[in-house]
């Protein structure tokens, strides 16, 4: 049973466009929601994270939007660049709990 559902599986965006990846979770006890970026042959690396006490967090071109009542959160990549082409994973965890749950991943391709 996957506790974090991620969509779409793959996404193709033109350079300069907006990439949007969505995640939904089931466990209302989750209180930490990170996004990881993974390039081929590399381990995942933290991109941006949010706690449920805020509805939005922005870091450069990357924004997380969080909807606690809908149990959904999304990653927006503004002005997408070919260098953003990677696989993105959403995740969720609970304070003081080691069991972080990951979404299945979205392979993003940004065409020049």
């Amino acid at each position: 049973q996957q506790q974090v559902k991620q969509s779409p599986q793959s996404l193709i965006v033109q350079k300069g466009g907006i990439s949007i990846i969505n995640c939904a979770y089931e466990n209302t006890a989750f209180d930490y929601f990170p996004w990881y970026q993974q390039f081929p042959g590399k381990g995942p690396a933290l991109l941006i994270a949010i706690r449920p006490d805020v509805s939005e967090k922005k870091e450069g071109r990357f924004t997380i939007s969080f909807n606690k009542s809908a149990k959904q959160f999304s990653l927006h990549i503004m002005d997408s660049q070919p260098g953003d082409s990677a696989t993105y994973f959403c995740a969720a965890s609970i304070l003081n709990n080691n069991d972080m749950r990951f979404g299945a991943g979205t392979r993003l391709t940004v065409k020049p």
């Binding site: 381990g43 995942p44 690396a45 995740a91 965890s93 304070l95 003081n96 080691n98 972080m100």
Partner: protein, 113 residues
């Protein structure tokens, strides 16, 4: 990769043989994790450690064991490898549990024939 190394980076083995993967960190982080990554499943936690000799099971622990005799080393053992354990294995570390960034190693690609 935040001072994390994994060895070997690639391994091919046969069904029924034991396999040990090693994770080594130079960050002195308390928590260490083993994940497997498979298409359509993202990353799934196998086992984790919250200190020397302190370990616990994750979501997909069957067929795996771990040991941590030193802060810097966390070993994952496949007691009798099966084809279903063909995967990419990632080690991760963190200072705190749950709401702290996990830093991932470069991964080990394991093929069980």
């Amino acid at each position: 990769d935040a001072g994390i190394t994994q060895s070997p980076r690639h391994k091919v083995t046969e069904t029924g043989t034991p396999v040990t993967l090693r994770c080594h960190q130079t960050e002195n982080h308390r928590y260490m994790y083993w994940y497997r990554q498979d298409p359509g499943h993202g990353l799934r936690l196998i086992h984790y450690s919250y200190g020397v000799k302190d370990t616990d099971k994750g979501e997909v622990s069957d067929g795996y064991s771990v040991s941590r005799s030193k802060t810097e080393d966390f070993l994952l053992t496949l007691e009798s490898a099966t084809s279903s354990q063909t995967s990419v294995y990632f080690c991760a570390i963190s200072r705190l549990a749950g709401v702290e960034t996990q830093y991932f190693g470069p991964g080990t690609r394991l093929l069980v024939l």
